[in-house]
């Protein structure tokens, strides 16, 4: 770095830098004078602190884009490819619940350009005036006709498209069968009973009210989405009884399942797939009583500081071949029909991704009311602080 700018003095460099920052010289002049133009392409990304932010931008979309998403949900190589193509580096922030994402956006100053809300949360974001209708002219790779309406429709609120589908999936549980004596539990009843007996100290639940409370409700055969006080009271009783037997309350359960510290966890399709791929003894189970069916979306917050980059990133990730690479990595089904031609047949026939019809039909989509219902939020908080 240093020897590259040696042909002008340090003071001259600082003067030029200041002039550039004030806007009195153009970027080209600045880069030319300081000799940074060539250096920037090679070294710019290495030491951005020394350079004005714009100096290492290559394209017109800026040099960065901030994505808020869920654990284990992207092939990082795709982001590297995006950066190589556009010059914008991708910062990934990971969240464990829609509540957390909503809280961060409501407090303001999230700095996100793209985030990944779940189907039932989108209407709340629209009500709260937190996301913008998408400009489809900036998303040429989005082909509405190729998306399964069952999973795509929640992205449209009041006739306007606010979000485009990312993936869909189910919420079941993963269990290390080498610890369960060869039998695989098949119901939420067994999940919670095992937790309090032979799996004591080895089970994880999400730090996420929708799935943790929802699947406790399933123990009693209630709706996954119930906000009925009497039913929630039963669920709370179960959760409090199970709590001393839990290993952890955390939505990022893969490390603990892999290390063998945890034997069973509430689990999303893709995590189940990733775990099963590397450790075949870990099975992914959909509780026979039902549970959650969901679809995730890409949306752009109104406050997005890098709008152009946000659209560029979404469009990039919607490219069928990129999306296919994502799917091969994260193991979630994609509601885009164009991918059927690209993905290998064994993926399209995988029972973890595409469960049998009787199991699938028992599932429910999350309901918008659960996101804002104060009783469910408070129940979850009581459960955690107990």
């Amino acid at each position: 770095m240093k020897d590259k700018i040696d042909h002008i003095s340090r003071r001259k460099f600082m003067e030029e830098l200041r002039r550039y920052q004030k806007g009195s010289v153009t970027r080209r002049h600045f880069l030319g004078v300081t000799g940074l133009g060539t250096a920037a392409a090679v070294l710019g990304a290495a030491m951005p602190g020394l350079l004005p932010r714009r100096a290492f931008a290559q394209g017109s979309i800026g040099d960065r884009v901030v994505l808020a998403t869920w654990p284990n949900y992207h092939d990082l190589a795709n982001f590297d490819a995006f950066t190589a193509e556009t010059g914008a580096a991708v910062q990934v922030n990971v969240f464990g619940s829609n509540e957390e994402m909503l809280a961060k956006l409501q407090a303001g100053g999230s700095g996100w350009d793209v985030f990944v809300p779940t189907n039932y949360a989108i209407s709340t974001y629209v009500d709260q005036d937190l996301i913008e209708p998408l400009d489809l002219s900036l998303l040429p790779n989005y082909d509405a006709a190729s998306f399964d309406p069952r999973f795509a429709d929640p992205g449209t609120v009041g006739g306007k498209l606010y979000a485009v589908p990312k993936n869909w999936g189910t919420t079941g549980f993963a269990v290390n069968t080498s610890r369960s004596g060869g039998t695989t539990p098949a119901t939420w009843k067994e999940f919670w009973d095992l937790t309090q007996t032979t799996f004591s100290g080895r089970t994880m639940v999400h730090d996420y009210q929708l799935t943790t409370i929802g699947n406790a409700l399933k123990y009693f055969g209630f709706s996954f989405n119930s906000v009925d006080p009497a039913e929630l009271a039963k669920a709370e009783e179960l959760l409090l009884a199970a709590k001393p037997h839990l290993f952890a309350i955390n939505s990022d359960y893969q490390p603990s399942m892999r290390s063998g510290d945890a034997w069973m966890t509430i689990c999303w399709t893709g995590d189940g797939k990733q775990l099963n791929r590397d450790m075949p003894e870990i099975a992914y189970v959909l509780g026979r009583e039902g549970g959650e069916l969901w679809s995730d979306f890409y949306a752009v917050p109104k406050s997005a500081p890098h709008r152009a980059a946000a659209y560029a990133l979404i469009d990039f990730l919607l490219r069928p071949e990129v999306n296919a690479r994502e799917a091969l990595f994260h193991g979630y089904p994609v509601p885009d029909a164009r991918l059927s031609a690209i993905l290998p047949a064994e993926v399209l026939a995988d029972p973890i991704l595409y469960p049998a019809a009787d199991l699938l039909n028992a599932l429910e989509f999350g309901a918008a009311v659960t996101l804002t219902d104060p009783n469910r939020a408070e129940l979850m908080a009581r459960f955690k602080s107990a």
Partner: protein, 275 residues
């Protein structure tokens, strides 16, 4: 006794050894060692978000420590020897600033500033022509302001102890000799309290550089190094984080030892130190 000290140092350095060891891990996962490699150091240094987070941390720490040192020194001088109601209020405020947990400060600052900005921004928008209005938001400025508050209380406390032990006769003698107050300050007071100011600055810098919880609430879209580390841990740690930690640790160790050597040499040059 020596064995005990050794055991405690072992306890202090075991996790650090683990961090350093895994920073040389060739594999992706932070907990399975898959051969030796220095690739993560290169990755960390080439990662624009890491470098920018580092830069944000350093600049915020520097700015807040500077503000705290200057304004804190001024306040400590004004409070010196003061009695009465102003002093009582000042003492109470300093006491509260030190005692209220960082998490409460963070939350309180967040809700106060978000609400305040919510009132001010529409006014600004009305004053300025279409779209040109500056809008206030959480970020660099709020982070510096919040860190400077705690640091200022620290600086005042440190200087107060120092000023109390100071010989007032010197200042009075200087005044008796008709030295203007500013000259007295520059030639008598400042040299005496300077070590205190320096200590306060360093402490403030360290506090700000290491703070996570206040920044977590008031940083807005800014990412400091601790915030970056926190979100990386949630994303599933790669040894990149270990590499960053090891580098920061190494740099601080070098700085500390260098400072120690310089101090020792300075003392020797001044002839005060026999060793």
């Amino acid at each position: 006794m020596r064995l005990y000290a050794l055991a405690v140092f072992g306890f202090l350095y075991l996790p650090i050894a683990i961090i350093a060891l895994f920073s040389f891990n060739a594999g992706r996962h932070a907990s399975q060692f898959a051969g030796f490699s220095t690739q993560w150091y290169g990755k960390a240094l080439a990662n624009p978000f890491v470098m920018e987070a580092l830069w944000t941390s350093v600049s915020v720490a520097f700015a807040s420590a500077l503000i705290a040192s200057v304004f804190g020194t001024m306040a400590a001088l004004a409070l010196q020897g003061m009695r009465g109601r102003v002093r009582a209020i000042a003492d109470a405020l300093i006491y509260i600033a030190v005692m209220v947990p960082g998490i409460v400060i963070g939350i309180a600052t967040l809700i106060a500033l978000v609400t305040l900005f919510g009132w001010i921004n529409p006014l600004l928008a009305r004053l300025a022509p279409e779209g040109a209005a500056p809008q206030l938001g959480m970020g660099h400025g709020t982070l510096i302001a919040a860190h400077a508050l705690f640091s200022m209380a620290l600086v005042i406390l440190i200087l107060r102890a120092r000023l109390e032990g100071m010989d007032r006769a010197l200042i009075e003698a200087s005044a008796d000799l008709y030295a203007p107050p500013l000259a007295t300050f520059r030639q008598v007071t400042l040299p005496m309290i300077f070590p205190g100011i320096l200590a306060g600055f360093l402490l403030s810098f360290t506090f700000s550089f290491d703070d996570f919880i206040i920044a977590f609430f008031v940083a807005g879209s800014e990412t400091t190094l601790p915030i970056y580390v926190f979100s990386s841990i949630r994303r599933g740690v790669t040894p990149e984080i270990n590499a960053i930690g090891t580098m920061v640790l190494g740099a601080s160790l070098v700085l500390l030892i260098a400072a120690q050597l310089i101090l020792r040499r300075g003392r020797r040059a001044a002839g005060k130190d026999g060793g």
